[in-house]
C-alpha cells in the first residue's frame, strides 16, 4: 500500500509537468492545427532561465557572468515572461509566414525550430547539464527535501507545490478561455477564422496570445521539472515534450481539461508501469498508450467524436 501511494503521487506530479506542456500543444493545435514541437525546447529554456535568475554566477558562452541571484518565486515568473515572448517571436518568424502553406511545411518548420533552440541552448549554456539551485522554502537546514508521510509514502512539499501550482494554472486557464472575451475569441478563431475576423477579431493577435500563454505554461513546467530533478540540459525538453504531445492527444487535442487529464493519466501510467512492470520500459508505456488510443479512440478521451473543425 505504501508503495502504491508513493507511485501514485510520483505519477501525479510527473503528469502535472506533462500537462503544463500539453496545454500549449492543445491550444495551439486547436487554433492553427500545428504541432508546435518547440514547446519542449521552450520548457527547457524555462528551466535554464530560472537557473540564470536564481544563481549569482553562471557560465554563458564559456564566460562567467554575474547574475541577480533571485528567489525561486521571483525567478520563475521572469523566466515565464521571457519564454512567452520567445514563443511569440517564434510564431511570428517561423509559423506565420507558412500559415497558408501546406501543413507539412509548418510541421517541418516546427521541427527545425526545435532543433535550432536545442543548439542555441547548447551554445549559450554548454552541453553539460547545469544544476538547479535548491529552493530554501522546500529544503531543510541539512539540505534535505522537506517532506511528510502518508501511509508510509514520502511526499515532498515541492511535489505538493508542483501539483498545486498546476491545478491553479489549469483552472485559471480554463476560466480564461471559457469566460473572457479574449478566450471567446480564441474559441471562435479555432472554429472559423474568417468569420471571427468579420466579428472584429484580430486573428493574428489571438494566435500570438495563444503562443504567449502556451509558452509561459511550458516554461513553468520546465522550471518545476528542473527544480524537482535538480538540473537543466539542452536535450531535457525532448522527452517531456513528446510525452506531453501524447498527453494532449490522449485528452483530446484542442481541449484544455483534456490536456490536464491526459497529462495526469500518462504520468500515473508511466509511474505504475515503471514500478510494477519494468522501469527499463518507462517511456515505452507512453507510446503503448498512444498506439492503443489511436486504435480505439483517436479523438481522445474528452475530444468530440465529430471532427474538431466545423
Amino acid at each position: 500500500m505504501t508503495a502504491f501511494i508513493q507511485y501514485l503521487f510520483n505519477g501525479l506530479m510527473l503528469g502535472c509537468l506533462y500537462a503544463l506542456i500539453a496545454v500549449g500543444y492543445t491550444m495551439v493545435y486547436g487554433i492553427i492545427e500545428l504541432i508546435n514541437f518547440a514547446f519542449g525546447e521552450l520548457f527547457m529554456f524555462g528551466a535554464y532561465i530560472s537557473i540564470m535568475m536564481m544563481v549569482s554566477k553562471i557560465t554563458l558562452f564559456g564566460h562567467e557572468v554575474s547574475m541577480p541571484g533571485l528567489n525561486f518565486f521571483l525567478a520563475v515568473p521572469i523566466a515565464m515572461a521571457i519564454v512567452a515572448i520567445l514563443g511569440v517571436v517564434i510564431e511570428r518568424l517561423a509559423y506565420r509566414p507558412l500559415r497558408n502553406a501546406p501543413r507539412l511545411a509548418a510541421l517541418i518548420s516546427a521541427i527545425g525550430v526545435s532543433i535550432l533552440l536545442q543548439n542555441v541552448a547548447q551554445a549559450i549554456f554548454g552541453s553539460k547539464q547545469v544544476s538547479f539551485p535548491t529552493i530554501s522554502l522546500f529544503t531543510t537546514a541539512e539540505g534535505q527535501a522537506k517532506s511528510f508521510q502518508i501511509g508510509g509514502a514520502i511526499i515532498t512539499w515541492l511535489q505538493v507545490f508542483v501539483v498545486g501550482v498546476t491545478i491553479v494554472a489549469m483552472v485559471a486557464l480554463n476560466l480564461y478561455v471559457s469566460r473572457t472575451k479574449m478566450g471567446r475569441a480564441m474559441r471562435a478563431s479555432a472554429q472559423d477564422k474568417r468569420t471571427s475576423a468579420l466579428m472584429g477579431v484580430n486573428v493574428n493577435r489571438v494566435i500570438a496570445i495563444t503562443f504567449l500563454i502556451g509558452s509561459a505554461m511550458g516554461a513553468l513546467g520546465g522550471a518545476l521539472y528542473g527544480s524537482v530533478y535538480h538540473f537543466a540540459a539542452p536535450q531535457m525538453g525532448f522527452s517531456p515534450g513528446l510525452k506531453a504531445f501524447i498527453a494532449a492527444v490522449l485528452g483530446g487535442i484542442g481541449n484544455i481539461p483534456g490536456a490536464f487529464l491526459g497529462g495526469i493519466l500518462l504520468g500515473i501510467i508511466e509511474s505504475f508501469g515503471a514500478a510494477y512492470v519494468s522501469s527499463r520500459y518507462q517511456s515505452a508505456f507512453a507510446f503503448i498508450v498512444l498506439i492503443l488510443l489511436l486504435c480505439f479512440k483517436p479523438s481522445g478521451l474528452l475530444g468530440s467524436t465529430v471532427s474538431q473543425k466545423a
Binding site: A197, N202, A310
Partner: protein
Amino acid sequence: MDPNTVPSQSPANGEVVLDVQDIHVYYGQVHALKGVSLQIMRNEIVTLIGANGAGKSTTLSAISGLAKPRTGRIVYEGRDLSGVPAYDVVKLGLSQSPEGRRIFPRMSVKENLEMGAFSRSNKDLGADFERVYHLFPVLSERKSQPGGTLSGGEQQMLAMGRALMARPKLLMLDEPSMGLAPMFVEKIFDIIKEINSQGTTILLVEQNANVALEVSNRGYVIETGQVVLADKASELLKNPQVQEAYLGGA
C-alpha cells in the same frame, strides 16, 4: 411601411453611406469582380441580384475587408477602406451575415451573439439581446444550445441576430432566405423591413429576387463580375429582361 410607395432616392441625392468605385477582385487567377461600382444611400434597402457565381458574395467580402480589391476603391462614410483590415471594418459600423450562415458550431447561441458584439467597446449588451430575442423569439428558447445543433432556418436567424449585435449602420445580408421554409421567407423579409425602419441601412444579396426587390428601394444586377443594370426596385420588377432571367419570367 411599403417602400414601393415611398419615392426611392436616386444615388444623385441623399447621403451616400457606401461608395464602391470600380473594384476588381481576384482569387488567384480567377478575375471574380471586373469593375463593380455601386452606391448606397442612408436608410436604403439595396438588393444585389445575379446568378450563382456572378460575384455577389465577393462584393460583400470586399466591402467587409475579407477580399482586398486589386484596383478600385471602397469609400464608407467618406473614408477609404483600402488599408483597413476586416476586423476593423466592423468597428466602423459595417456588419455582415455571411453566405452559408457561418455560425460558430461549438458555441452556444448566446455566445454566438456575444461574438457579434465583439467589436463594440460598450459592454452592456442587455438591450441588444432583448432586441434580437424580440425579433427572433426562437433564439431566446435556444440560448444555451450549441449553434451547430440548430436547424438551418434557426442558424440563419442567429446569423442575422449576430450581425445586429454589432449595432451596424450598414447591415449586409448574404442570402438571408436560404434554407428557410417558404412560410419563414416572408417573415424574414418583414424583419428586414423592421430593422431598416429602425434606422439601419441594408445591402441585401438574394436568389429570391422577387421578394427581395419588393422590400428594396433599389437594385443592382450583377453578371460575371460586372454590374449590368442598376435601377429602382420597382423598375427592375417591371423590366422584361430581369423578369426573364431572375424572376421566373413572371
